[in-house]
């Protein structure tokens, strides 16, 4: 069974001018149908305004579809009695590390979700410790969030979601405001969770190098799914990606350039290792 499923999902909002009059309807998500398997690492990529974040917010019932249906763990997000269950099952991490930490101490922030769920005190402490250990932030448990780096703050946010024991984590551009080392930290933690804790991960990003290890990639453009497939399938279509103005990893791009110069290389090379192997075969 799919953990998240959408069927003909459409989301529209009314744009208003300065006087508050209707100024046209904008369709941010346009007829998206997808099914995400429990335990997978899914990436949704696309440039700003492609509708990827709007789609993500449906998976946590922050937004409701204009048309079509979204199910999270079998529950229809439009049914209000399920709303807290849905938010517990599908946790969400947002872009700005400063604007999603509520607690003044790291451990208190991680405990915020379980507190809301009414988890007994002793169980909260257990979950907080486990979650902080899972993202490698346990030694910072009594720190003030203001003293942490961007990457560390995002890991705390991930732990905060984890403590709610979700089946699925939706990360909405968690690395967009981080520096390269912060980005590596966060992606490493997310991958670890997916592999060891078997949590379904839905990573929304515009950094293509972060999605190479995903099980499945959706590329969004103008509110629709423009491409989907395994990383290798996606990255073998360099021209299409460039047309959608997305970055292609430099290795893939180099392999593509070499092929253009007449070298016979396999499609969709993703790592330096693969390229070196393919080239030494030629030499």
């Amino acid at each position: 069974m799919s953990i998240v499923k959408t069927e003909n999902l459409i989301y529209e909002y009314v744009k208003r001018d300065e006087e508050g009059n209707e100024d046209g309807v904008i369709r941010a998500v346009d007829d998206v149908s997808l099914g995400i398997r429990q335990g997978d690492f899914i990436a949704i990529v696309g440039h700003n305004g492609s509708g990827k974040s709007t789609l993500a917010k449906h998976m946590n019932a922050i937004l409701q579809p204009t048309q079509g249906t979204v199910w999270v763990d079998g529950m229809d997000t439009r049914q209000e009695e399920y709303i807290w269950n849905i938010r517990q099952r599908a946790g969400m991490v947002f872009q700005n590390p400063d604007n999603q930490i509520i607690g003044q101490v790291v451990e208190e922030d991680v405990g915020f979700g379980p507190e809301n769920l009414g988890v007994p005190t002793e169980e909260i402490w257990k979950r907080v410790e486990e979650s902080l250990r899972a993202v490698g932030m346990y030694q910072f448990r009594s720190h003030s969030p203001n003293r942490l780096s961007g990457g560390q703050k995002q890991r705390v946010s991930i732990a905060g979601v984890l403590a709610m024991r979700p089946r699925c984590i939706v990360l909405d551009e968690p690395t967009a405001m981080l520096d390269p080392s912060g980005r590596r930290e966060v992606i490493h933690a997310v991958r670890e969770l997916n592999q060891t804790e078997k949590v379904t991960v839905i990573l929304i990003t515009h950094y293509m190098e972060e999605v190479i290890q995903a099980d499945h990639i959706y590329v969004m453009d103008k509110g629709q799914i423009a491409m989907e497939g395994t990383p290798r399938e996606i990255f073998s279509k360099v021209e299409e990606l460039q047309r959608l103005r997305l970055d292609v990893p430099q290795v893939t791009l180099l392999a593509y350039e070499l092929k253009k110069r007449g070298l016979d290389l396999p499609d969709g090379i993703l790592t330096t290792q693969e390229l070196v192997q393919a080239l030494t075969g030629h030499a």
Binding site: E18, H47, N48, G49, S149, G150, A176, M177, D179, P180, S181, G182, H206, Y207, M208, R245, L246, D247, P249, Q250, V251, L253, L254, E257, L258, K260, R261, L263, T272, L275, V276, L279, T280, H282, A283
Partner: protein, 298 residues
Amino acid sequence: MKLPRQERNKMALTVEHVSYIYDPDAPLSHKALDDISLTIPEGQFIGVIGHTGSGKSTLMQHLNGLVKATSGHIYYGGRDIDARDYDKKELRSKVGLVFQYPEHQLFEVDVFSDVCFGPKNLGLERGEVERRAREALAKVGVPEELYDQSPFDLSGGQKRRVAIAGVLAMQPEILILDEPTAGLDPKGRREILDQIRQLQTQTHITILLVSHSMDDVAEYVDRIIVMNGGKIVYDDIPRKIFKCYRELEKMGLGAPQVTYILHTLKENGLPVDTDITTIQEAADSIMQALDSFRITGP
């Protein structure tokens, strides 16, 4: 490195032994800048690289007098900017500083008035203010139909252009951009960088591009300054800098991916040129190496 006065005049900006200590009295005080010396000649396109907390932003804020050095001197056009009679306001118009996420400082009701804010503060007359605003907006590629719009209704990339125009309108001789691509998507990132390069080639203004991404600056700049722990560790042309990619990695920076690929290929016996930083050149070099391999045999 004490330059004679005439030498200093030729340099747009000279930094001599500048150190800066945060809250010297606090128990947690630390040296944010540690004995920095640096010259910035006219018309150069410079990349300043360092990870968060390396001191790069603090150094940039020294260059236009927003932060005063704890020790050392900074000369602009040969004059000490901390001298008592030095006009800081004029300095700030000559050394323009665009902060990280500059769109957060937009405040006017429309785009055009916001860009006018800088030149108006210089006390210029209205005609001149508007002429400069128009020119600056054109330079960063903001179309005229957006002039009357509220800056808050624009897209992320457009807002950032408007904010950059707000500094450009003061007609600085040196433009410092602190992480101009932070938070933008690949499309927006490339557009802004291309625009900056165009600005540099057209106006020959000195540009300092501050970034933590080697990939961003590698193909654009003439010179790279690498900062770590409040010090300048490297200051050279990009090719030479990337030779030290292993050291860069220890600082949490790393070189462009191409550098890694080429080095790995060379280690595997393919005679490629490892100094290359762009994909096109790399592809050519690999083809050449493969050809020579086929002719001479391994």
